[in-house]
């Protein structure tokens, strides 16, 4: 008979406030095999873990249960503690009596009863647990970074600098992301291009970085250390290996396409590079707008190109790569102005979003840095900035704070004032949030010395009247309604995850939260990891954040990848399927259900086997096995049955 010890955590009052932990200990102590049961205020603390170790030795325990928080938090903590005391880690189980009991119930009696049943269930499991050894698997020391914005670039550079190979995949034809669109960055007002371009060039030139722009991840299979990735390289219809980037073709192209990079404030040809500092500096042909692709006539670019780099017959390529770890840094979009019905729904020409205003401010932008409004090119004298346009609005738009807008709007107003001295900027805000180094000072200076009028309140409506754009809002500090006859309105639209991120997470099988941003493994302690091992996250794809935070997080994610790659092999959970050869009839149902090709048929013995390196331990084949020959280690059918019985309070 096994000697099982049960340790019940109070978690301060988090558990003990609702669950009578003393009673749980008393009741559990009566169960078969349980030789020791004790409660303690903080089991995860040093003294708590010491208690566990001490009792394992003293009571000669060969199985322990920690009744505490979710196993996703401290299972590894306690398994390590068990191992230190000489107990096999797979003999340590967690009974989740916090997230799934004390936090969700208020009736003390019922919660205590439930906690007893939860612990009894885990006692039953532990009674039949075997001691296991982790399965060593090899590791491919090559990383994939998805997204070529500042987060992806930083992560790729850090990993590459440590000596490992990186593939940097970017959907657009150039890396750079949104940061390349920005004019100057808060709070130091250094030029965004000037600090980003060197990094872009470094990423493009690094011998350990393979840049795959104009490419998208098609499919990911495998597991940590051993992913198989299929990447689609979209046909640019230009042979990039011979193209010199001279740009003649772009000058000749007769098509006019609104520039996405300039937020529609300028146009480029159907053959184009998104911006002059692009890396790689090679053009692509936009099939949708190309006159030749639409009508079968033109080919002007082909005639212009002396080296013959234009290739209309180019096709998409599929590239397969073996990868050890994946960083997702797919960034963000902003809520389209067309969705903001009360702010003109995109029909008022002089209502633009923050990124468009960045382009107006940018020296390399469509107006060469002069602030001119889209409708008639005049310099606007009254500019209204509207914060929280779609953010902090759970009823109509997004419930969360987009975090960067307070700062960038202040920056916008300031830069506008620097360019148009007699102009008047107004900022409508709900609260000004300036958490960050030097941020409050930046705001304070703008508010005190730059003549920006801050109005605390929401804007109710924006519409066009003649050549003016009328803004109706409220100043809640004076309690008055405000009407401003503006020349230009800039909306700080909500930061939202990219639409394509939703597609991508399905391929990667990682999680997103309710607002579509990527979920981290732990909101505080594992902020750059996905819950699925081998997947890391960085940048705004995880939630709104500014550049310094994004860069820090990207380096953090890179560091996690490097630490993974520093090992010779990885350890795989051994709680996988195995076959009782005596029972197996060789029907091969298991082979048909396995999603990983981990089940194979032994022609000689006429039985099915498990390939331990490939088995992920989902248990699908175990449930499918008709004769009970396939079982899952430490989750066998007999374990489950006694767990079920115990969960019902026993018979």
């Amino acid at each position: 008979m096994k000697r099982i010890g049960v340790f019940i955590c109070h978690c301060g009052i988090n558990i003990a406030g609702t669950v009578d932990v003393k009673r749980v200990a008393e009741e559990v102590a009566k169960l078969d095999s349980v030789v020791y049961a004790q409660d303690y205020i903080y089991m995860c603390s040093d003294p708590g873990q010491a208690l566990v170790r001490e009792k394992i030795r003293q009571e000669k325990l060969d199985g322990i249960i920690i009744a505490a928080c979710s196993p996703s938090l401290h299972e590894s903590t306690f398994r390590t503690a068990a191992e230190e005391a000489g107990l096999n880690p797979w003999q340590c189980e967690i009974a989740n009596i916090r997230e799934q009991c004390s936090w969700v119930h208020t009736d003390r009696k019922k919660a205590t009863e439930k906690a007893i049943r939860i612990v009894s269930t885990m006692v039953e499991k532990t009674r039949l647990n075997e001691s296991l050894e982790p399965i060593p698997v090899s590791i491919t020391k090559k990383a994939l970074v998805i997204g070529g914005g500042i987060a992806g670039i930083q992560a790729a550079l850090d990993i590459a600098d440590s000596g490992h190979k990186v593939i940097l995949v970017e959907k657009e034809s150039s890396i750079g992301g949104h940061m390349a669109q920005l004019s100057e960055t808060f709070p130091t007002l250094d030029c965004s291009q000037c600090i980003l371009t060197p990094k872009m060039v470094a990423a493009g030139k690094h011998r350990n970085i393979q840049l795959m722009t104009y490419s998208e991840v098609e499919e990911v299979s495998g597991y940590v250390g051993n992913f198989n990735v299929r990447i689609r390289r979209k046909a640019p219809f230009v042979d990039w290996s011979t193209c010199t980037g001279c740009g003649l073709c772009m000058e000749k192209c007769p098509a006019k396409v609104p520039s996405e990079f300039d937020r529609g404030l300028s146009t480029h040809g159907a053959i184009y590079i998104p911006f002059p500092q692009a890396v790689p500096n090679k053009p692509v042909i936009d099939r949708e707008s190309c006159i030749y692709f639409k009508t079968g006539k033109c080919r002007l670019c082909e005639k212009t190109c002396e080296i013959g780099a234009i290739k209309f017959d180019q096709e998409d390529q599929i590239i397969e790569e073996e990868i050890g770890a994946i960083i997702t840094a797919t960034g963000y979009e902003t809520l389209p102005v067309t969705e903001l019905q009360e702010y003109g729904a995109g029909e008022v020409p002089d209502v633009i979003d923050g990124l468009a205003f960045e382009r107006l401010l940018s020296a390399s932008g469509p107006t060469s840095g002069e602030v001119r409004r889209p409708s008639d090119g005049r310099v606007p004298k009254e500019v209204v900035f509207v914060q929280c346009a779609g953010s902090r609005d759970p009823e109509r738009y997004r419930p969360y704070c987009s975090k960067i807008c307070c700062m960038y709007t202040t920056k916008h107003a300031l830069l506008y004032k620097h360019r148009v001295h007699d102009g008047q900027p107004y900022i409508f805000y709900i609260d000004i949030r300036t958490g960050g180094k030097g941020y409050e000072e930046f705001y304070h200076n703008a508010e005190q010395d730059e003549g920006i009028i801050y109005l605390r309140g929401k804007v109710a409506k924006i519409f066009r009247d003649g050549d003016k754009t009328i803004v109706w809002g409220t100043d809640t500090l004076t309690g008055r309604n405000v009407e401003i006859q503006a020349d230009l309105v800039v909306l700080a639209t909500a930061v939202v995850p990219r639409e394509s991120t939703a597609e991508l997470v399905k391929k990667l099988r990682i999680q997103t939260g309710p607002n579509g941003f990527l979920s981290e493994a732990h909101p505080k302690l594992r902020p750059v990891e996905s819950i699925n091992s081998g997947f890391f996250i960085a940048g705004v794809a995880q939630g709104p954040r500014d550049i310094p935070e994004t860069v820090a997080q990207a380096s953090g994610a890179a560091c996690k990848v490097i630490s993974l790659f520093s090992r010779d092999h990885l350890e795989q959970d051994p709680a996988i399927a195995w076959v009782d050869e005596e029972l197996c009839g060789g029907c091969r149902i298991c082979i048909s259900v396995c999603p990983y090709d981990a089940r194979e048929y032994d022609e000689e013995k006429c039985i099915a086997r498990v390939n331990e390196a490939l088995c992920e331990g989902c248990g699908s084949c175990v449930a499918a096995c008709a004769c009970g020959a396939t079982q899952q280690r430490n989750l066998s059918d007999s374990q489950i049955k006694s767990m079920v019985t115990a969960s019902l309070g026993g018979e």
Partner: protein
């Protein structure tokens, strides 16, 4: 001819009965009949401004239950307030179990006293929000179709510039009403378009006319109505079209007070949407009760009649 259950509401039964007439006339021209409920009460008209959570839902629930019990699943109303009240009541019943139970307890309680239901053997069935409350404007959009209206026009309103006015209760709150985008709607514009007239875009189309402030502080309502009407005029409107009897009262009758308070104000005719529909479909203009309007509609009416001749005498 298809019959659709119809709830006129108090305003259209009494003070504004001419609007009721125009709605019925138009329906017939479009091939359906507004079949007034045999008995009905006031809808209450106050849930939007009431603190009470259940009592004010009893009257509208009773109306809705009667429609359900008569074997029909659609109820048309042409008054924004009735529409708002009935639809929101239905929403509460559909989505809130506690409200549903309490309402049905009230309804069951007063059942025996209602003399017209003499079905002693009828067993009680809880009302669970089965009826769909539909604004006539919505019915025209979704069931009749603008194309159909266009085909049946006898006197297209071509050349007429009309400013739509939505008021506040027709579209809000959006999650409960779901008729159109409340901040940037298009249903009345599309309706005007189907009558062959030109729509005027002006900023005040979804702003409040003052509603019941008309009673407690008429000056506030006067100021609001002045802004709405002058803005429409400045943008070139010949007339206003609305779908709420209270807005109608405010925007039409209040023009007297507006003219006194604002010397620069010029009157502008106000039409109920059913009146314009009815005239455009060829119903005699004499049946529209235009004589009951405060502002003379003759200039606009003349434009319509000159364009297309006299209507049929029905």
């Amino acid at each position: 001819m298809a019959k659709v259950a119809y709830y006129p509401g108090c305003a259209l039964k009494e003070r504004s009965s001419h609007l009721d007439t125009s709605a019925r006339d138009s329906a017939v021209r479009l091939g359906f009949e507004l079949d007034e409920l045999p008995t009905w009460t006031c809808c209450g008209a106050v849930p939007p401004v009431s603190e009470e959570r259940v009592m004010n839902l009893v009257a509208p629930s009773r109306i809705l239950k009667d429609v359900r019990d008569s074997g029909r699943d659609v109820l048309i109303t042409i008054c924004d307030f009735c529409y708002n009240t009935l639809k929101r009541t239905n929403y509460s019943i559909r989505t809130n179990e506690i409200t549903r139970k309490r309402i049905n307890a009230f309804l069951a309680d007063d059942e025996p006293e209602r003399d017209y239901i003499e079905k002693k053997d009828a067993y009680w069935v809880d009302y669970t929000g089965e009826v769909r409350v539909v604004h006539l404007m919505e019915y025209l959009r979704d069931e009749i179709g603008y194309g159909n209206i266009r085909e049946k026009l006898k006197r297209p309103l071509s050349g007429l510039k009309i400013a739509p006015y939505y008021g506040c209760v027709m579209l809000r709150p959006q999650n409960e009403i779901q008729l159109d985008e409340p901040e940037n709607p298009s249903i009345i514009e599309d309706f005007i378009d189907s009558l062959g007239a030109e729509t005027i875009r002006y900023p005040y189309r979804t702003e409040c006319c003052g509603s019941y402030l008309s009673v407690s502080s008429p000056d506030a309502s006067t100021r609001l109505c002045y802004r709405i009407l002058t803005s429409a005029q400045q943008h070139g409107a010949d007339a206003m079209v609305i779908s709420c009897p209270l807005c109608f009262y405010n925007l039409d009758s209040r023009q007297k007070a507006i003219a006194e308070a604002y010397p620069d104000f010029k009157p502008i005719p106000v039409f109920y949407f059913t009146q314009l529909l009815s005239v455009a479909l060829g119903v005699d203009e004499g049946r529209q009760g235009f004589e009951r309007h405060f502002v003379d509609v003759a200039p606009v009416l003349d434009m319509i009649l000159q364009g297309s001749g006299k209507g049929d005498r029905t």
